[in-house]
Structures are given as structure tokens and as C-alpha cells.
């Protein structure tokens, strides 16, 4: 056995021990925990920014914040939610679960894993520090279109560029680690087509990350040289092309939105069979559909740019390619329904969130299909309708997916069952508030309200007030979630090894809480599930 950081660092004091434990850890479970807490912290930070925006939009007129600050809020909210909440949240889940689900002792590259995580607090520290700089934080939207972000960007844009670079490095290293782990540390008796769907979706996501994060890095580097080294990549005055920025950005950006949702698909595909007590319907088509979505995601970026004056042929190509994504996505939804069909369902909190995920994500998918139609997109584009669309796929999609995963696996992590009654209250609060917040945005968008505006004309007032009230309830519901998580960590009913009667897979063969080191010898696959046994199931752990 190799020496571990925590074994060789001299223990000087309790504080020092605490710091070195978390700073130097190479344990996948510790690093998973760190990622999840970072994600959770930034979730409340970016959520508070959304609250500031909804407060300002509660009524027409300027009441609380100035236009420039509003633009900073919407930019930071988007950047933090995408790069700081959803991505680290999913990476945290991957760190905890992938080794447990494939019977690996740890991630394949543990020190790299530590490095991938510890880049992030500094990256977000840089990004958030820009709020306190002269000229304020980046104010050009999370899509940072040139030349608003280059020639006209505030001085803090350089901090943003460096921050994005660091996040990108972290993501690529994390993705490499996940791919290497899945290919090399899988227990030998588990074939690729035996892997749990969460592992499959993450494998595909990791490839997407490796392919597109460097593109983003390229875009911000070109911004940096435009700003400081006299190049004119994106400056028309210097012979450059502002539209090229959008092409590069969305070549990253569209696969990115699938990075933000594919692991969620995997989570739903784990949870629904467990609580339907029935095998996942169409395992193979689920894998192929995920791969098809990932492949198509590289050839649809132009649908973000229909209003930029594209030629007809290009518009038609991107429209057809985008519509085609509905097919594999539909297959996934149908498979989930078929999994539920004639199952024997119970509705614990993870299942509720998974069902909320499927229904509300599908609504977001429907509006996505509508947005694909170019003529109609001329009316929807850059209105609140788009804001409604992507919040439907991201909040009940990525965020509900992550929450479902936390409820599903937290007994394995902490050894305690969460409070089921509070979990259900959390779900119903969140699901009602999500719809109250985002559904009216469809209507304001269709009526003509552009997105990213600090103030609006009187005709949009009623629905905006409803959205703001919904957002307030939504924010409160997540405070309840924090309480539930902390309460579960501190105590609660003891979780069994199996945790969920219908659960299947290697992670449910290790004790709850999962010991620090698991699967030091490769387990047999498929495992013998011990559904009726108590938690002292004999399994190969240290």
C-alpha cells in the first residue's frame, strides 16, 4: 500500500490537521465533498445575484440597483451558475460515485484530482473579486460577445479571462481523470455496456469537455490579445470579425449546454429504475442516444446566431440539425416513461426530483424545438422566452438532477437517512416556485420583452411581479435544502448498506457511510445485491 498524504504529514494541531486533510487530500470521496461544497457555496452566491435582479424587476422603474450593476449581476450570475455550480456539482458527484459504481479504489490520477479541485477556489476568487474593482465586474453577459467584452469591457475583464482559463484547466484535467478512471480502473468483469448510465453519461460528457474547453480558452486568449497586444481578431476597425467571436463561443457553448445536462440524464436513469423497482428500459438506446446528442451538439451552434444575418443555406442547415436533436432526446424521455410503466413505484424525495426533472426538462426541450424554427426564432430570439427556455432545462434539469442525486446518495456518503418529510417539502416548494418563476417568462417574451434589461414597459409588469415572487420562494426553498443536508450530515436514522430496496449496483454493496477506502481489490460484477439484509453485508472493503 502506498503512503497517503494524510499518513505522512506530521499532525501539528487540530486546525493544521484539518487544513492539511482537505488541502492535501487525494481521496476521491474527500475531493468529491470539496467539489460539492464549492458548488453549494457558489449556488447561494449566484442565487443571491438572481435575487438582486428579480428584486429590481419586481416593478417597472429603477428602485434598488443601477443599470450597470444589473448587467454585472446578470453576467456573474450566469458565469457562476454555469462554471461554478452545475459543473463542479456534477464533478463532485462523479468523484464520489464513479469509483464506487465501477468498483475502482479511487480516481486514476489522485494528485491531479486534488489539483483540479484546488484551482477552482482561486479561479472563482479572482472572478468574484472583480465585483470590488474600479469599473466593476464584467458586465457583458456570460456569453461575453465582442466587442462589448473586448474594446468596451471594464478593466476587470482581464481577471475574468484569467479566471476562465483556470476553470478550463480544472475542467479538462478533471475530464481526463474521469476518462482514464473509467477505462482503466473499472472492475474487470464490468464491460463498457455493463456500466451504469451515470458513468456512461459522464464518460461522454468528459469527452465533450476535452473537446470544447480548449476552444473557450482560445476565445478568451484572443480577447486578451485584442485588449492588450494590438491584435484585431474581433475588432472590425482592425480588419477583424466580431461575428467570428460568436462562432467560436458557440462552438464551445452548445456542447457546453450538453455538458450541463448529460450527467443529469445519467442521474435520472439511475434513480427512476430504483424507485420503479424495474430495470431501465432500453439501456442500449439510452447509451446510443446520449452519444448521438453529444455528436449532434457539435453541429448546431449556429442556432444561437439566427439573427446575425446568416445566409439562408446556413440557417436551414442549423435548423434541421437542431430539430434532429429532438429525436434522441425524445428516445430518452420515452425510455424513462417505459421504465416507470408497470413498475412498482414509490415516491421518495430522489424519485420526486427525478420525475420533476423529466417533466420540466421536457417542457424546456419543447421550447427548444420551437426555438429551432428559424422564422419563429426571429420573434423569440433574445427575449424572455429564451430565458424561460434555458432556465427550464437548467434549473429543473441540471439543478434538480443534482439535488435528486444528493438525496439519492447522501445516505451512502453520510451513513444517515435524510429527513424524508423535509425532503418532500423541499421538493414541492422548489417545483412550485420554479414554475412560478420561469413559466411567466414565456408570456413576457412572446409579448415582446427583451432579455437582459433592467427596466421594462408597463405591459410586462404583472408577470414580472409573479416571477419575482416565485424567485423569492425558490431562494427560500434552497435554504431549506441546506438545512436538510447539514441535518443529515450531523445525524439521522442510520442508513443500511442497500439504502434503497430497489437499488442496483456496486455502490450499494459498500457499507454506509462508505469507508474512506473502498474496492482495494476489484469486486465481482454484477454484484450480489442483499436487499433484505442489514447493513453488515460482507463486501470487499478495508
Amino acid at each position: 500500500m502506498v503512503a497517503r498524504a494524510e499518513d505522512v504529514i506530521p499532525q501539528r494541531s487540530a486546525l493544521w490537521a484539518f487544513i492539511t486533510r482537505w488541502l492535501l487530500t487525494t481521496n476521491h470521496k474527500d475531493i468529491g465533498t470539496l467539489y460539492l461544497w464549492l458548488s453549494f457555496t457558489l449556488f447561494f452566491t449566484a442565487g443571491a445575484m438572481a435575487m438582486a435582479m428579480r428584486l429590481e424587476l419586481f416593478e417597472p422603474g429603477l428602485q434598488f440597483i443601477e443599470p450597470l450593476f444589473y448587467n454585472q449581476m446578470l453576467t456573474m450570475h450566469g458565469l457562476l451558475m454555469v462554471f461554478g455550480v452545475v459543473m463542479p456539482g456534477f464533478v463532485g458527484l462523479a468523484n464520489w460515485q464513479i469509483p464506487l459504481m465501477i468498483g475502482a479504489p479511487d480516481m486514476a490520477l489522485p494528485r491531479l484530482n486534488n489539483f483540479s479541485f484546488w484551482i477552482l477556489p482561486f479561479a472563482f476568487g479572482l472572478l468574484i473579486s472583480s465585483l470590488f474593482m474600479d469599473g466593476g465586474a464584467p458586465n457583458f453577459g456570460w456569453t461575453f460577445y465582442a466587442p462589448l467584452s473586448t474594446t468596451y469591457g471594464p478593466p476587470s475583464t482581464d481577471f475574468f479571462i484569467l479566471g476562465v482559463h483556470m476553470m478550463g484547466i480544472s475542467s479538462v484535467l478533471g475530464a481526463i481523470n474521469i476518462i482514464v478512471t473509467i477505462f482503466n480502473l473499472r472492475t474487470p468483469s464490468m464491460k463498457l455496456m455493463d456500466m451504469p448510465l451515470f458513468v456512461w453519461t459522464w464518460l461522454i460528457t468528459a469527452f465533450l469537455l476535452i473537446m470544447v474547453m480548449p476552444v473557450l480558452a482560445g476565445a478568451v486568449t484572443m480577447m486578451l490579445t485584442d485588449r492588450h497586444f494590438g491584435t484585431s481578431f474581433f475588432s472590425a476597425a482592425g480588419g477583424g470579425d466580431p461575428l467570428m467571436f460568436q462562432h467560436i463561443f458557440w462552438f464551445f457553448g452548445h456542447p457546453e449546454v450538453y455538458i450541463l445536462i448529460l450527467p443529469g440524464f445519467g442521474i435520472a436513469s439511475q434513480i427512476i429504475p430504483t424507485f420503479a423497482r424495474k430495470k431501465l428500459f432500453g439501456y442500449h438506446s439510452m447509451v446510443y442516444a446520449t452519444a448521438a446528442i453529444a455528436g449532434l451538439s457539435f453541429v448546431v451552434w449556429g442556432h444561437h446566431m439566427f439573427a446575425t444575418g446568416m445566409p439562408l443555406a446556413t440557417e436551414l442547415f442549423f435548423m434541421y440539425a437542431t430539430m434532429l436533436i429532438a429525436v434522441p432526446t425524445g428516445v430518452k424521455v420515452f425510455n424513462w416513461v417505459a421504465t416507470m410503466w408497470r413498475g412498482s413505484m414509490t415516491f421518495e424525495t430522489p424519485m420526486l426530483f427525478a420525475i420533476g426533472f423529466v417533466i420540466l426538462f421536457t417542457i424546456g426541450g419543447f421550447s427548444g424545438l420551437m426555438l429551432a424554427l428559424v422564422p419563429a426564432d426571429f420573434q423569440y430570439h433574445d427575449t424572455m422566452f429564451v430565458v424561460a427556455h434555458f432556465h427550464y432545462v437548467l434549473y429543473p434539469g441540471a439543478i434538480f438532477g443534482t439535488m435528486a442525486a444528493v438525496y439519492y446518495w447522501i445516505p451512502k456518503w453520510t451513513g444517515h437517512m435524510y429527513d424524508e418529510r423535509l425532503g418532500k417539502i423541499h421538493f414541492w416548494m422548489a417545483v412550485i416556485a420554479v414554475n412560478l418563476t420561469f413559466f411567466p417568462m414565456h408570456f413576457t417574451g412572446l409579448a415582446g420583452m427583451p432579455r437582459r434589461i433592467v427596466d421594462y414597459s408597463l405591459q410586462f409588469a404583472d408577470f414580472n411581479m409573479v416571477s419575482s415572487i416565485g424567485a423569492g420562494i425558490l431562494g427560500l426553498s434552497q435554504v431549506l435544502f441546506l438545512y436538510i443536508v447539514v441535518k443529515t450530515i450531523r445525524g439521522g436514522e442510520k442508513a443500511t448498506t442497500q439504502v434503497w430496496e430497489g437499488a442496483d449496483g456496486l455502490e450499494w454493496t459498500v457499507p454506509s457511510p462508505a469507508p474512506r477506502h473502498t474496492f482495494e481489490t476489484p469486486p465481482e460484477f454484477p454484484p450480489v445485491m442483499n436487499r433484505d439484509a442489514d447493513e453488515r453485508t460482507p463486501v470487499s472493503t478495508t
Binding site: 417597472p60 422603474g61 469599473g135 439573427a307 445566409p311 413505484m345 424545438l369 422564422p375 415582446g448 427596466d455
Partner: protein, 377 residues
């Protein structure tokens, strides 16, 4: 509090009216039909795709909810164990493809017509800058700026908001009915987007590019829209207003503009000939400053950080006159300080510079005459 109550009441009313009245529903919840053939066809396309989604949603969610009811453990304690079916999986792959083709065909034919910008009767060059539109009638050689006219008191909640709050301008774009009008969009600084929902025309204005779009508007009236691409601080304050007049009235309006231009150039000559007093210039200057400059530099000249420098005690308003004139007339490149020479008259520029040099404790006692500005052009 009353407004919350009224919102709740309105929300309740909407639910009650749901299904009772198509018109109320349509007004509040639907995509705007607009007035052009194209906007109405786009609304039809929106309805087509919406109803397809609604039907699909009812089927899929209906099956889910039925299953949740009928296949819950208390009713169905023993789960089935099927987990694949090739025929079913092929069916639910192919059927959506057919539905999508059904949507793609009308979308394609409509799009082909939208992109046909040929044979226009009239061409308008729309040039965007932060945060206003400039309209140029290419055939008539007429051009002017269009700024939002909502007073800042309404935005700051000091006065009641007007009916067209944030959707009103000083000089609307005037168009004739029943002519194919081609819009060319361009930008002087960042990317903007010109949108009039009732025409279903939304086209980005991108520096270095000229994009095109068109509309044929059958109904006279006033149509309102907004900039729809985040373009900086005052993105929310960049409305588009189009006034559509019957053709004869439009022709007369064009003629009136020509006459007005002649008169204005005569007025400019007179302005140059006159030697203005400090008091006169300060009065005009304050008005011009509040209208064009205060949004960034603040009405008390205090500015907003280094992005929008303070003018009270600032280097330029208290420094050499020539540098001050240069900055106001030609702006500072790569910043939001734009060239005001094309936007304001000699008198306006002279008075606003005079104002900046003598307001808020800037006591240069300099008086700048319109003829000085004319010479600097």
C-alpha cells in the same frame, strides 16, 4: 402592497378566463400576431409547433401520470420485468422524425421568403450606437437620430409612468404603407439588434457588417420595439418606434423633412453669426447635457468610477479648450464616449461645452461660440 394584490387578482382573473375568452388569452399570453403577412405567418408557425408540443406533452406526461397512479407500489406490488422492445424503440424514433419533417416544411418555405430581400421600394440604413438609432433614407438623403424620450424622472419613480414608458422616442422612423421596405442594419460601436415585434423583423446591427431584412406594412399606425442584444449600460433604454403613414402622407413627410433641413441650415448660419452670452449658452447647455450626457456622467457631473469620468473638477472640462472641444466632437476611441459632431448642432455643442466648463464649481469662465465649433468640424 396594492400592486401585489392587483397582480394576484389579475393572475386569478387570467386563470378564470382561461378557456373562456380567446381574445383575453391571446392578448396576454400569445405571441403577437403583428400586422404584416410575415408576422402573421410566423405566429401561425408558432401555433403549429406549440400545439404539436402540447399534444406530445399531453401524451407523454399523461402516460407518466397514469403510470404513477396505476403502477405505484400499493396498487402494483410486483413490477413487470420487461426492459426492451426493438419495435417500440424503432417506432418512437421514426414517428418523431416524421413530425419534425412536418414542422420543417412550413418553416423552410416561410424562411425562404423572409430571406428574399430583393426588389425593395425603399431602403433605410439603420445605424446603431450606444444607445440610440440613426435612420438614413438612402433614396431621399434624409437622416436623423432617434433617442428614447421617456424622462428620467419616470425611470427614477419621481413621476407617474406614461402609457408608453420606455417605448417612446423623440424622432420615430416614418414609413409608408404597402411598400417593400428594406432595412440595412449596421453599428458604430457594439452589437445591437433592431426589433419590431409587429413586423417580425429582428436583425443584429454588427460593427463591420451590413445586414438586411424587410417588411411590407399594410396598416398605418405606431409600432414599438426595443434593442434586443445586450449593448451595455443603457440597453434597456433603446426603444424602436416606427410610425407607418399612408403613402401620400409619407411623401409629404419626406418633403417636409427636406424643407426642415434647409431651414435648419439657415438657422445654423444665423447661430454662427450671433455672439452668444454665457447665460444663453448655459441654459441651452444644461438641457443638452441632461438629454445626452447625464446618463453616464450623472446630472451633477460626478461620473461613475473610471468608466464614466467625473466632469466636475475633471481634467478635460478644466483644461485647455481645444482638447475639450476635440473630445466632445470626436469622442475617445474604444470607449463609450462617442463622437457628438454628427449628432448635435454647432450651437448645442458650443453650449454644452460652455456648460461643462462653468457648472458644478468648474469656474473657467470660458464662453465657446458656435462659430468655433463650425471651424473645428
Amino acid at each position: 402592497m396594492t400592486s401585489i394584490a392587483s397582480t394576484l387578482k389579475n393572475g386569478l382573473m387570467l386563470m378564470v378566463l382561461w378557456g373562456l375568452s380567446d381574445t383575453v388569452l391571446a392578448a396576454a399570453l400569445d405571441m403577437r400576431a403583428g400586422v404584416t403577412d410575415m408576422s402573421q405567418r410566423i405566429q401561425w408557425l408558432h401555433h403549429l409547433s406549440l400545439w404539436i408540443c402540447v399534444v406530445m406533452g399531453v401524451l407523454v406526461f399523461g402516460a407518466m401520470f397514469y403510470s404513477m397512479y396505476a403502477h405505484r407500489r400499493s396498487k402494483n406490488p410486483v413490477p413487470a420485468d420487461f426492459h426492451e422492445s426493438l419495435s417500440v424503440e424503432i417506432a418512437w424514433t421514426l414517428i418523431p422524425v416524421l413530425i419534425l419533417i412536418g414542422m420543417a416544411i412550413p418553416a423552410t418555405t416561410t424562411l425562404i421568403e423572409i430571406e428574399d430581400n430583393s426588389d425593395a421600394d425603399l431602403t433605410i440604413l439603420i445605424t446603431a450606437s450606444q444607445w440610440k438609432w440613426h435612420y438614413q433614407y438612402l433614396e431621399a438623403d434624409i437622416g436623423y437620430y432617434s433617442n428614447m424620450s421617456t424622462p428620467s424622472e419616470q425611470i427614477q419613480n419621481l413621476e407617474p409612468k406614461g402609457e408608453h414608458y420606455l417605448l417612446e422616442v423623440d424622432n420615430p422612423l416614418v414609413l409608408p404603407t404597402n411598400k417593400k421596405v428594406r432595412f440595412l442594419t449596421a453599428s458604430n460601436d457594439v452589437i445591437h439588434s433592431w426589433w419590431v415585434p409587429d413586423f417580425a423583423v429582428k436583425q443584429d446591427a454588427i460593427p463591420g457588417f451590413i445586414n438586411e431584412a424587410w417588411a411590407r406594412i399594410p396598416v398605418p399606425g405606431i409600432y414599438r420595439g426595443q434593442c434586443t442584444e445586450l449593448c451595455g449600460k443603457d440597453h434597456a433604454y433603446m426603444p424602436v418606434v416606427v410610425e407607418v403613414r399612408p403613402e401620400a402622407e409619407f411623401d409629404k413627410w419626406i418633403e417636409d423633412q427636406r424643407i426642415a433641413r434647409e431651414l435648419a441650415s439657415g438657422q445654423a448660419v444665423a447661430d454662427r453669426a450671433k455672439t452668444w452670452t454665457m447665460a444663453e449658452l448655459m441654459e441651452i447647455g444644461e438641457r443638452v447635457f441632461m438629454e445626452h450626457c447625464a446618463t453616464c456622467h450623472e446630472s451633477d457631473g460626478s461620473g461613475q468610477g473610471s468608466t464614466y469620468p467625473a466632469l466636475a473638477g475633471g481634467d478635460i472640462p478644466t483644461g485647455p479648450i481645444a482638447a475639450h472641444i476635440e473630445r466632445v466632437m470626436f469622442g475617445k476611441s474604444d470607449t463609450e464616449m462617442q463622437s457628438w459632431a454628427p449628432q448635435l448642432s454647432d450651437l448645442e455643442i458650443a453650449s454644452v461645452i460652455t456648460y461643462e466648463r462653468n457648472a458644478w464649481g468648474n469656474a473657467t469662465a470660458d464662453v465657446i461660440q458656435p462659430r468655433t465649433i463650425y471651424a473645428a468640424r
